[in-house]
Symmetry: C2
Subunit: 654 residues, 2 copies
């Protein structure tokens, strides 16, 4: 680092040349661009300047992060992880069964999915707080997308196999994204999209629970509000009050424990235990009152034993392959978005770093292994991870503890769920879903950024009135439209001089700035691309028109110079360069001089290559707006003494 | 305009407050945004402050621009327009017939299409140089898209009616774009896309002419290189040498006249007259030698008489409606892109203004009227307009002269085309198409902007090896990807101090800049949106890591401040604000102070609404990087006297 000499020139304007960056070989700049696009976090940095043996260890730790924490594991950690693991298992068992029902899959799959995938994640995942399990939204989406092609009642086996296949493709897709460093695709699901989408999905999932709560036998296959309402109100005579009362009681119990725990975070375990308590209470109640014979539907028999292998069940040659791939990719992306966001937010709390691409590989492997062991799509659900975090987990070992608890349940306790009423599962789902509807976030969006609010609401409305996929597509389309609109309609602002300085800023933001007589200073806020070059040409022409009209009406010095502040123009393409040439022609035609200020390196490079710099003249490109104005004023004074200009306006110009 | 007092502070840093723009009512800012998006050129400006009668006249002139020039029309103009009109008619007649054949439509439609649409355009169009007519690319596309659904040989009537219907929808779509001020959609066809697409389409059109040149009876319906080559070489025994020789002779004649005219622009009329001369020579030759009986195909009978009405032929209830609408929209957009670009470039030469949206309405009306009078899609072809311009046309009256000439031909001269050999038409098409392959532009793209070159080449390859639509879709997708990639991976650069100034610039572009000890200055070159917020967080963290590593290895002052130059950040969304909060946390965790410099009005507004300004502290937001550095240096010196820092480095800091 050189010496930074702060010698400020007093009342002297030294004009600085704008540098044209040295030409770079094409391959080098391509390599740089590719690195920034795919390896922005420079994952190989820690491998630099290390002996080979250390490199091997670092490499192993990179793919199996448990090697990092295992050697430093202590008894105290174990205690904490044991408590956390058992707590999340008590949540995982009822939720697993409930969400499997939501996906129209056998309930036992929910337990299977809480056994194998957490083990895989514990080895490969880099989050210490993430608790692995199935999620409601992905379950619902799996059910809806596969259900369009295969009727689960008519052909349950094919449906099951397709679910495994979809999970397999989810895993492959997730792992590929990670390996190919394409994790940034998940970023295109903006926060606003996720808020709206989650709230919509939660609403839709709650609506589906009306089936369980009201004890209905037949129900629509649609997920939208209109179909569900029509289905519910067309069979009012089939509503079962026993089921309804039971459901409402448990829902009240669950919501009140959740409310209590939210108020007193120390008692987080009360809301964490509530679902299992509900299941036990509900099962006991049914067992004692034989309510299953009076219209209260129960789970029925669950097979004892661990996950059977399901590799042979994957379907690769069927006409249904397309739907399995489509379902896999869409649910995979959504699961990924939730899992990565959850991992990142807890890492932020505890001050450690998570590598998104590495997490994707872990999620992918977990689902690939899961699909071969009778599991369906798993990720890191927010609610369960929050319980894990509150219960004081230290490492991913809590996932192993949870898996072991679920294993014991699978081996010995499945008969106990025979009498569990479905309505309790519905109540558990609803109470979990209510937490996903984030009013506060939507209000915040409205306050801060109206466009984000529109994105959020369109995702919500799309999901509730259309379908889950439709909501997602609409929200992403609107988000992208916003980005395109930013480029297509960049802001151009007029700059004015901040009194007693050489600083020029937006006259609207700083109303106390002074205009400079005879000079129009414009700033463009976006790269100049094909999508905005026509607009900018028209807009700059209009600024000049308006300024000339204004000057004419007030009788001030006529316009002589147009300075374009290029500081915020990150890049330019060939359409943009043509636009600049046309603006130059427009200016020439009106007898104005076009002056550029502060073009960046990319822009200078391209202006130079296209000979625009020779066209405009290197001497008309300045490093700052201040210097450009200084030069223009000098020229105005020297060559065109204007009687209308008073002394004061120009006295400090060299 | 106030007095601009250039009193430069000598060695005094006056810290300026960054203004938070005054809150605007939502409706007002929405109105402003909508105006900038849809009315950037402020078309109503000329109506302001005018008496009502004048407003009516201006309004009429707005929709019927001929009212503007008609009153000022002179005899001299008429002379010029007469010459130009007759010249373009001599080009329009053979080209019209050729392009109609390309669209698999009856040749007479080419003449019909050069009669009615030019009359409509002469009334409504605002370009003085545009010559209306059919174009090869849109003709080929019409043929290819309709041909997929309806076989023109088996069901010529339905095919013809679908062509009219597609033209009708093109017109409606074009007029709608104009009325709804959505003209900017055409801007998404970038210059690079158009260069590649046009070259590809020209190649494909030339390939199609092999049928005529070789005198083949059967030919593939595909347009891609592979199908055409397979079709041509699978029937080598059917090649007709008579046809081939004739074709090559005329092609040589046409190309050499074109080359001559290009060298000597005064003799533009030689190349303009060449096609008609070829037609006359070819017809005479066939008539005299009876070559039509020796394998030279001729046009055959053309019906005498003006355009029959075709309003009743439009198909609105058929199962083919979708294909008609799709064809109409795609060909309509392409025709629009060519027409608008042609109009604009000649307007630029002659220094007058063209309103894109108004032109779209004119094109739309011209095609709607055309579709009801047996015409198919017309626009403003480049070649014909260039001839019009070179022939010295003064107003759109040259189009009327052309239409009248074509009318006379339709009424009296159609029998003369009976013996015109098809091979001459093929030669005319090929020679016109060769002009569309713009090698020089492609080389320019490669030199200036590699990404634009990729867009151009992918359009070309897509068109030649896939289909015309595929090339278009690929090119637009890549162009949009570029825009998204600019947002998803913005450049962050480190700034350094330019010696003896308060200016801070990119250290890569200005290698002679000095680093400031203890301070890292970063500039972000794009708006902070959901698509890049994760990336920027990681990237900023990496810059800090790298800077700290570097400082540690060289033993310099440790890092204390991170200054973010927000000058080039045009906008921020809620994901971006979360990112800023996380960056603040990252900085806090490492004991660094985050300082912002020069946030714009949009950014300040949102940072304020989201309380981020309170979080970071208003006093840590500066108007310029220079002032931020000054303040940081002051704090460094006052509160943390660092023994490692030498006097020189900080002596000028207040």
């Amino acid at each position: 680092m050189g010496n930074a000499d702060y010698v400020y020139p007093s009342n002297v304007e030294c004009s600085h040349r704008v540098a044209i960056p040295p030409p770079q070989p094409f391959v080098k700049s391509l390599k740089y661009s590719l690195k920034e696009t795919f390896f922005p976090d420079d994952p190989l940095r820690q491998f630099k300047n290390q002996p080979p043996s250390r490199k091997v260890i670092l490499g192993l730790q990179y793919f199996l992060p448990f090697l990092e924490w295992a050697p430093r594991y202590t008894l105290e950690f174990l205690k904490a992880d044991l408590i956390a693991g058992i707590t999340i298992a008590s949540l995982a068992i009822p939720q697993g069964i409930s969400y499997a029902k939501l996906a129209n899959l056998p309930p036992i799959l929910g337990l299977y999915s809480s056994f194998v995938p957490p083990l895989v994640y514990a080895l490969m995942g880099s989050s210490r707080d993430l608790a692995v399990g199935t999620v409601a939204v992905a379950s619902l989406l799996t059910g809806a997308m596969l259900g369009e092609e295969v009727n689960t009642l008519e052909n349950p086996k094919l449906y099951l196999h397709l679910a495994f296949t979809a999970t397999f493709f989810s895993g492959v897709f997730q792992a590929c994204l990670g390996f190919l460093r394409l994790g940034f695709i998940v970023d295109f699901l903006s926060h606003a999209t996720i808020v709206g989408f989650m709230a919509g999905a939660a609403t839709v999932v709650c609506l589906q629970q009306l089936k369980g709560i009201l004890g209905l036998d037949h129900f629509t296959h649609g997920t939208d509000l209109v179909s569900v309402m029509r289905s519910v109100f067309s069979q009012t005579h089939q509503w079962r009050w026993e089921s309804g009362v039971l459901g409402c009681c448990f829902l009240f119990f669950l919501i009140s424990t959740r409310y209590f725990s939210q108020r007193r975070p120390k008692f987080f375990w009360i809301s964490a235990m509530a679902p299992l308590t509900s299941v036990i209470l509900g099962s006991l109640l049914v067992y004692l009152t034989h309510a299953e014979k009076h219209g209260v539907q129960v789970i029925g028999e669950l097979k004892k034993g661990l996950n059977p292998p399901s590799f042979g069940d994957l379907v690769f040659v069927s006409p249904y392959l397309t739907v399995a791939i489509k379902t896999g990719i869409i649910t995979g992306v959504i699961a990924l978005a939730e899992g990565i966001a959850v991992g990142r937010s807890f890492a932020m709390f505890k001050n450690y770093h998570i590598d998104g691409n590495k997490e994707m590989i872990a999620f992918g492997m977990m689902n690939i292994v899961g699909s071969c062991t009778s599991c369906y799509l798993t990720t890191g659900p927010f609610s369960r991870s929050a319980v894990n975090y509150n219960a004081g987990c230290k490492t991913a070992l809590s996932n192993i503890v949870m898996a072991m608890t679920v294993m014991l349940t699978l081996l010995f306790l499945t008969p106990l769920f025979h009498y569990t009423p479905l309505v309790v599962l519905s109540a558990i789902i609803i109470s979990a879903m209510l937490g996903l509807i984030d009013y506060a976030a939507a209000i915040h969006l409205w306050k801060v950024d109206k466009f984000d609010f529109v994105v959020c609401m369109s995702a919500y409305i799309g999901v509730v009135f259309g379908s889950v996929q439709m909501g997602l597509v609409i929200a992403i389309a609107i988000s992208l439209l916003r980005v395109l609109l930013f480029i297509a309609r960049p802001r151009t602002v007029v700059l004015g001089n901040i009194p007693n300085s050489m600083i020029y800023r937006n006259v609207e933001q700083y109303p106390y700035t002074n205009n400079v007589p005879g000079i129009l200073i414009l700033q463009i806020d976006a790269p100049i691309y094909f999508a905005n070059s026509s607009y900018l040409r028209e807009r700059i022409a209009r600024w000049i028109d308006e300024e000339e009209d204004r000057l004419k009406s007030t009788g001030e010095t006529s316009l002589q110079y147009v300075i374009l502040d290029m500081g915020a123009i990150g890049n330019i393409d060939t359409s943009g360069i043509s636009m600049m040439e046309e603006v130059k022609k427009i200016a020439d035609r009106r007898g104005l001089k076009l002056v550029l200020a502060n073009p960046g390196s990319e822009v200078m490079k391209k202006l130079n290559k296209s000979k625009f710099i020779d066209n405009i003249g290197q001497e008309w490109i300045y490093l700052t707006v201040g210097e450009a104005v200084g030069a223009c004023n000098y020229m105005l004074e020297t060559y065109k003494p204007n009687p209308m200009k008073n002394e004061a306006e120009t006295r400090n110009t060299v």
